[in-house]
Symmetry: C2
Subunit: 137 residues, 2 copies
Amino acid sequence: MGILLKKCEKIGLRLTEQRRSVLAVLEEAKDHPNIHDLFERASKVDPNLSIATVYRTVKLLEELNVLTKLEFGDGIARYEVADRDHHDHLIDLKTGKVIEFYDEEIEKLQQQLARKLGYRLRGHRLELYGTLLEDEK
Amino acid sequence: MGILLKKCEKIGLRLTEQRRSVLAVLEEAKDHPNIHDLFERASKVDPNLSIATVYRTVKLLEELNVLTKLEFGDGIARYEVADRDHHDHLIDLKTGKVIEFYDEEIEKLQQQLARKLGYRLRGHRLELYGTLLEDEK
DNA sequence: GTAGATGCAAACTGTTTGCGAGGTG
DNA sequence: CACCTCGCAAACAGTTTGCATCTAC
């Protein structure tokens, strides 16, 4: 049984057919799907799923901290499961490919910086945009 | 004469009434105005300015690297003059206030990280979200 | 059985665009 | 004068919402 499903059960969410479909898609997604992706994938299992339901489900899950919303500056929201280890993103400017990374030192520095400015760090977003070194030859 | 105006002149932009108004607003903006802000402020000088023109002007300026587009995850694009020293943003979760900061060490770390992943860093976005330490008492 | 979830379509928000009129260089 | 830019309104894309119906608990 999926981790997400279990989590939602624990929260006490009503587990409808539609929510199960969306959760299943999220569960097995290796990428960072947007609403349209989720809708398309879940529709294969549940053909008369409505996109409004996907919006509602995803919004709900985001508010419950089950999902994290990502916005890479193209105006399209993407989602990923929130629970996994924290990481940031590097976006390949040529291909749009998204690479996840984590760096302890940067995390610490951010914490310190916020405090220096008089704030408690509640969250952050770090995105690196780059091009493959290989492509330079 | 404003720096922005001069820059646009050098680029060879046609300097219409409307563009002058928008540039003037940007020139003196101490915050990070969105399109609506720009439209309202510029409208005071140029009452029959159209919001479509603001969109067109801002888009143009962004493409010419005169402006930088900021997106803080609420779906509203904000703008700032691109030329100033690079900096990142800390967003106050309670008030929405935006504080600018710059940290050499973080900049360097990002560069190194990208290279470690096989990329040349072309840009980045770092946003810290926090709450005032003072508010905790 | 009942509160809550769904599908549908209409409404909304931020942004873009086609067109004829107007202004800049 | 030619080309670019403008204002207007209509078109768009992504997202939200009102309402009647349906369903998980």
